[in-house]
Amino acid sequence: MSSDSATKQARGKEDPGGSGRAPETTRGFGNRWTALGLLGMTAVIVFLVSLEFREMWRDPPIYPGPGVTGQGQLSDYFPGIEDTAADTDVYFLEGEEAGGTALVLGGTHPNEPASSVTAITMLENAVVTRGRLIVVPRAAHSGFTATDPQEGYPQFYRIETPTGTRRFRYGGRGINPIHQWPDPVIYVNGSGQQLAGPEVRNLNRSYPGDPDGYLTERLAYAIVEMIRQEEIDLSIDLHEASPEYPVINAMVAHEDAMDLAVEAALLLEFEEIQIAVEPSPENLRGLSHREWGDATDTKAILMESANPIQGRLRGATNEALIVEGADPYYQRAAEMGLLYVPFGEEGSPIEERVGRHIQSVATLLEVLSFHNPDRAITVDGLPGFGEVMEKGLGPFLAPPHD
């Protein structure tokens, strides 16, 4: 048989009718049934992983303590985020005596767990006797519904309480891209700062926000509106950063809040908390410590603690690293003098990070009240840093219940 006739015979098998359509591939162990089987398996896998991903859409319960006197939504201040994934719970703790108002914002970056856990611990323990405390535990609510890609982060972490286990979500740095898409190549925020495209979903680059902008900008606008409408005297934005980041275990203060932050930092030394005070750079736009202070009359302060799971030097990326915070590679980096915080074998456990935040917030409120007696805010029931370090965080979280 000539090679020409063999080729014609093969073509005949592929396209017997000579229709000219693309031929089906004939070589291989598959057929239509294997294809259908694989499609079925794909559907089953999609269904199963959907259950897992959708689990992150459910808000783990918060158990407001006796000091919580009211609850609202952020969209109450700006309806432009109503019925969106950005809308979030706002809790009010109001004292019997009139005084000032302070805001504690947790969960701006849902991959910084001590931030929202601090806000939740405050909600479940604080009793305000004078003035008012407003607490937002999940500021970037949408960001809690997905982790950052290619980081291998766990979806949840657990903290043991004396009578049960509390489960919290570990989210991503920005708003979930299924809620805001697409990212531009370059993001120019409302203050004219040029940033990398994905920063368009970063709440703490979007202040003071835009009522007609991206979802993240509308969220930022709603938060600034809340500060304006509630006439908040002191606004604290809780964060964490990787141990190799220079601004760590620090307060970043707007110039209007600088005196307050410095005095609080001095007092915190008595509690064995060393905390740096950094001025909010005037040319770094879009961040809470800059824009809240410029756009409103509030004293704006951002706080950072050391979170090893965010860092690039970390080893095993798992729940233990979030909660226990021990990592041999960070320990080695500290020995080599590469970090900005001490990092020993004990690591940077979540009780230390949350304890620092709570103590720092309490001290800031004390200093504010001392210098502004008519706008004083007195809060009881908050655990101190030493107490949290001694007993752990569990005893200060409400046990899970219906």
Binding site: T25, R32, L38, T42
Partner: protein, 47 residues
């Protein structure tokens, strides 16, 4: 914008499904199934 994105994703999902049914190579079908997984999750706006 999101609807356009979902429309494009749907077309790609259908084309890959059609390719799976036409192609007799098992490895090619397996690869197509792997590609379909994230695309379907995206189409349904789950992940």
């Amino acid at each position: 914008m999101t609807l356009i994105y979902q429309g494009i994703t749907l077309v790609v999902v259908l084309l890959i499904g059609w390719h799976m049914l036409r192609d007799r190579r098992l490895t090619e079908q397996l690869e197509a199934a792997l590609v379909l997984l994230p695309l379907i999750l995206r189409l349904l706006m789950i992940k």
